[in-house]
Every structure is written in C-alpha cells, then in structure tokens.
Subunit: 392 residues, 2 copies
C-alpha cells in the first residue's frame, strides 16, 4: 500500500428535490451567478425552472452561458471568463454533464489570469483566484461534480488537455437522480462505460496490498454492471439512476486510488485523441478501446488482474488457467457493452472514422513528449497504433 | 436509496513518514498548539519526538495535556479548555487513539462556551467557535480522525454522551500505520471489532436499493476480517496495519450511510452503558454484544441481512434456509472474534461484571427518554436486559 494524500472537500446533497436548495447555498457566494448549460434540455426536464426560481427566491441574480457542447471548447471558456468579469459574477453554476461542469472549472481556473484561457491550460501555475462552483450534474459519467479536474478541447490545434487544481473542487454538488431520467439509452451506456473506465484505469494498477481500495473498486464496478443494464432498459428506474449517479461521483475523485501505485491511465489518453480528431462521444470511444486494450496488453502480469476482475466483478467461475479466465472476462465485458447498444469497433461507431489515416498522428499526440504512455503496461507509439487498429 | 447529505472535509496524509509534515501544517493555525495524549506510549514509539521536532523546526510552540484515559473524562475537557485559554492555543493536536482525539474534539467544541464543558455536551447549540484539530491516530478503531463526532464520559453521573458538530472534523489527519505496530494483540482485536461494528450498525439498516453502499461496506468488512487476523498474529505487518487504519477512518465518517435509511445504532448504545458502569474497553464490549444482539434479533427480517453478510463478507456457502446461513454467519463471526483473543461473554472479560445487578439501570439509560432503541430492530428495555443476560 502506497503513501497518498486524500482530499475531497465538496459537500454533496443527494436525492429527490435537493436542487431546490440551490438559491440558499448560492447566497454564500455573493449576489450574482452564471448558469452554464448546453442546448436547453435542462429546460425540458424542469431543472432550469427549479434553479432560477430558487435563485430568485433568494435574491441571487444570474447571467447565462449556453450552447456548451460535448468535448467542450476553450473558446467557450474565454467567453465565460469575459462574461464573468463584465457582469461581476461571484459563482458558477454548471447544469449538465461533464462538459458543462468542466467548462465551469476552466472558467473558474482562468478567471484570475489576464490573457487567453489556453495559456492557463498549458501552464497550471497561472491559476490564481478561482471562482466557486456549485455543480448540478444531469448525467452519470465523468464525476466532475466531485473532483478537481476538467478536460478541455482546443479545436484549432486538435488538442484535448486537462486542467487540475485543488481549488476547482465544486463547493457543493446537488445530485438529483431524477434529472438523469431523460438521458438516452446510448448516452446512458456511454456514461456508465466512462465510469467503469475511470475505476478500471486505477484498479488495474497492480499494487501489493491495496486490498481495501481494490475491493471498494470492485463494489463500484459491480454497481456499474448491474445498474448500467437496468438503466439502459428502464430509464426511469430511480434505484439504477441513483446508484449510477453516486458511483460516478466517487469513481474519479481520487478516493479509488488511495494506496494504489499512481500510474498513468492507458485507455483515456487514447480516446482523447479520437475525440480531438473525430469528436467521438467520450464514453463510446472508451468502451470500444477498453476491450481492445485489454486484449492487446494481455500478458502474465495483466492476466492475473483481468481474471480477478472477471471473478470478483463479473461473477465468472475461475478456471485453472488464468489466461482463459482473463479472456472470458474481456469477452464478457465486450458483450455487456454490446448489450447496452455500444458498437464494438470504431468503424461502425458513426464518427466518420473510415480509415486508419490519422492513427499515426493520434498515437504521437497520445504519447506526447514522452517515448511511451507509462500505464500499468507501458505503451509505445507502435502499441497505440496497434490498439487503434484492433479497435478499428 | 434515501436522500442524504455528505461532507468529509478532512484532508488526509497517509503512509510512512507523513507525521513529519505536522509542523508545516500546524503553522496555518497560529504559533501555539496543544498536544493531547495519554500515558506516554507515544514517546516509546518515537511519535512524540517526531511531532515536537517538526513543530520546533517550524516555529510552533506547544503545551501539553496528558494522561488521557480510555473512555475519556469530561474533567479533562474542562482542564483542556482552561489551558487553551490561558496559553492562547490556536490548534489542538491529539496523538493517540479515539480517546485523545475525542477529548480534543470536546475541547474544540467547548472552547467558545464560558461554563462547564458538560453543559455543551448536553446542549450542542452552545458550540460556537471551534478550535482547529490536526489528528494523529495511533490505533485503528474509532475513525475519530476523519469524522465530526466524539464520545465523552461523565464519571460522576455514569453517563457517556456524544458531541457531534460539522466544525469538529479535523482539518488534517496524519495516518502513519507504523505508529500502530506497538498496539497489543488485545487492543488490535478490540479496535477491529469496533470498526466492524461501526460498519455493521449501518449495513444492517435494511434499505431498498442502497446497493453501492452495501457492496462498499462488504468490501470494508472483508478488509477487517482479513487484516484483523493478520495484525493479531503479525503486529508489524505493514499491509495489515495500513488497510486497518484506512478502513477505520472510513468506517465511521458518514460515507457508509449514504443512501441507507438512517436508523439508530443498536449495539453501540448497549456497550456505552457497560463502559459507563464498568469502564469496559469499548471494542471488547462491542465484540461480545454484537453476536448476542444478532442472535436475539434473528427474525425473518434480519435473517436475510445476516445471511447476506455471511455470504458476501465471510465467504460462506449459502444454504436454502436463510436462518441456517444466518446462524452460521453469527457463529463464524463469534469464532473469528474468539480467534483474535476476545472473550465472548461479559463474565470472563475482566471488567468486574460478575452479576446482573446493574442490567436494569443500564438498560434504562441505554434507552434514554424514548421507550425503545429504534434500531433496525427496535429494542425495548426488556430486550436490552435480555441481550445483556445473553452476553453475560
């Protein structure tokens, strides 16, 4: 078990009706907030009205930053920073999925810097005074509402980068599972695949003696497997939506890694390049790449881990040959994703990836300045290309 | 799954050597701290020197409140409050088990009230300005280093009461498993029984659909079962001490209850009366009462839960009859505690409880002003007496 630091200061209100507290909580942070959301689905589900009514009742004014897209863009961050300054905004309220919350975090982190937001993304030391955030997630996926990180996309340079800073934890997260009822089957499946990947990227870091962390991650993954299937088939199942929303929050906030060897994630950096070049829905790319990656890195070292995953998470019977169990685990996971309606190759995923012409540049960018991705199994550029090809 | 509020703002540094950070962290809270510890075992294990050297290096002065006893006394709280005021202390640093940390919390909570500390224990609204705390636990048991509650004993009135306030979360917890190496086999066993009880008191609250919470608690309980045995037999096993110290911190800070129906604990209030009247080591009383309570409340409702506990935590094979599985689970747990050296009845536990003469008054006090303990199975005064008798 490794040394570690743990801090998740976000306060969470969870359950039916909790969003109506937002005005009362917002008052702590001044008299004007910025609502940050997408195309307006929050109006259809009643979330927008709940929020603005509660703000009005508590005397909190608001401005709006709208049209946030999946794989959110740095241009929206610049726009948000300018609006926050002009309007004297003291609080950011993202209402939506990870894209909205991540946009809010980037605005929060770039607010204190007088220059293009992308400068801050490339140089975290420029993060000064952060605006506070109250997050209202409407999708169980990134867990961005209880962590300190954000992913942001620069469409001009085809780059997707992370901003991470301890002051970016939302002050509050208001999680009402009923606001996730309207998420489509496809987006539900992508979200759960993303949650699972956040957990698996940590779980597969082989660490002697991180027993508690490993067993907790198995508990989380079992939750995803069980309720992913239920939510895909019965979208208004409260129990499923509630368990998924809570496990999403905990899958990515650092708790799972307590005691594990911190090694670089493997599947996420590969997917970020597909998103950067093809605007892939993140969870779809993750689901496709995960099983391709698992098959590619199957060796004496990973077979143990994948077999344990199969037995402890997927309830497989172990066989004497760990490779056989590991392969069954990968097949079972692939079938699970397929049963949720996720295509299992990039070609059929509808993102316009029809040939392998960009695999080389994507692999180069995934690896970055290093000569490999130092995940639980190090991946060279060649390895990354091979995994893209296997997933094609 | 029930609505809930979650907040655990304590920052934790975990692992070998982390206590040497204490001076640097203490500086955030002024120039004078109060060390709070017991009989001086912290000097034998080198913890005292590490702490005072780090404080000195960082220019932090300190005063000392010593001789804190198990089932800590309110008189020590009054003494601590007076000392803190006289010396202008800005930070409390408990070094020890739950007794030291709970004493620190009571001092923190009573500091802003000008009168006897017991007034505050009886009336939480008197808690005003709380002194900050940096906790250094030397025992895996209460988890007081990452929660907002404290138990305190009034020896004059034979009362053991809880103080709970959101401002009582330690600001930091510095958890070095090596400082728990010297804990005796007996105290190790008592500590793990206490951790298990914190988890089981929540786990056995039957709640539809709190799947994630239940599976996480099983992960925690499996950790206790595995490493309780290892630590009892191999006290310097780092992996065991580390997993136990981390699970203790999470067993009692509110995380396990997220989504569960909040019902009153059953075994703890019964044990608190044994502690109040016989100064019982808390974890010993807990271990003895737990299996007696389980046998007493075994019914159609609890048999399901105890059987699930047996299968998912103790790895028992389920049988067709849930009662049979539940009984095997209770027997297995009793044998586990016995294998750790914990006596399985009060008579033989060495606390001077040689007859049932106080069971009636203890039962009355356990129930308090209500007519029963509204745990997962409500317990009348008669029930409590019967459980004491069964445990006798």
């Amino acid at each position: 078990m490794q040394n570690f630091y743990y801090s998740v200061p976000t306060k969470a209100y969870f359950g039916k009706g909790v969003v109506s507290k937002i005005g009362e909580l917002a008052k702590e942070f001044g008299s004007k907030a910025m609502l940050i959301y997408g195309k307006g689905s929050i109006k259809k589900i009643g979330l927008y009205d709940t929020v603005v009514n509660s703000l009005k009742e508590n005397g909190v004014e608001y401005v709006e930053l709208t049209d946030i897209m999946p794989n959110p863009h740095i241009t929206k961050v610049d726009e948000g920073v300018a609006l926050a300054r002009k309007e004297g905004v003291g609080l950011l309220i993202p209402l939506g999925g990870g894209s909205c919350i991540d946009t809010a975090k980037c605005i929060a982190g770039c607010y204190g810097y007088d220059g293009p937001a992308w400068d801050v993304i490339l140089n975290k030391s420029l993060v000064k005074e952060c605006l506070p955030i109250i997050a209202v997630p409407t999708l169980a996926a990134t867990g961005s509402d209880m962590d300190a990180g954000a992913m942001i996309h620069n469409e001009a340079t085809h780059e997707k980068k992370q901003l991470m800073h301890p002051d970016l934890f939302p002050k509050y997260s208001l999680l009402d599972p009923e606001y996730t009822y309207s998420v489509s089957k496809k987006q539900t499946a992508f979200g759960v695949a993303d949650i699972m990947s956040h957990i698996m990227e940590v779980y597969f870091s082989k660490t002697e003696g991180a027993f508690l962390a490993d067993r907790i991650m198995e508990a989380m993954l079992k939750t995803c497997v069980k309720y992913g299937t239920i939510a895909c088939n019965d979208p208004k199942n409260y129990e499923a939506r509630a368990n998924l929303l809570w496990v999403a929050a905990w899958g990515c906030n650092g708790f799972t890694g307590c005691g594990k060897i911190p090694c670089r994630w493997s599947v996420h950096p590969l997917e970020h390049e597909i998103a950067a070049f093809y605007n892939d829905p993140h969870g779809q790319g993750i689901a496709i790449l995960t099983t391709s990656w698992m098959r590619y890195v199957l060796n004496d070292y990973t077979a143990d881990m994948f077999a344990t995953f199969g037995v402890n998470v997927l309830d497989l019977e172990p066989s004497a040959d760990k490779y056989e169990t590991a392969k069954r685990a990968i097949d079972t996971l692939e079938n699970l994703f397929r049963s949720w309606g996720i295509p299992q190759n990039l070609r059929e995923s509808g993102i316009g990836l029809t040939d392998d012409s960009k695999f080389e540049i994507m692999a180069e960018k995934a690896i970055g300045a290093a000569d490999k991705i130092n995940g639980c199994v190090p991946l060279s550029k060649e390895d990354v290309i091979n995994i893209y090809k296997a997933a094609f």
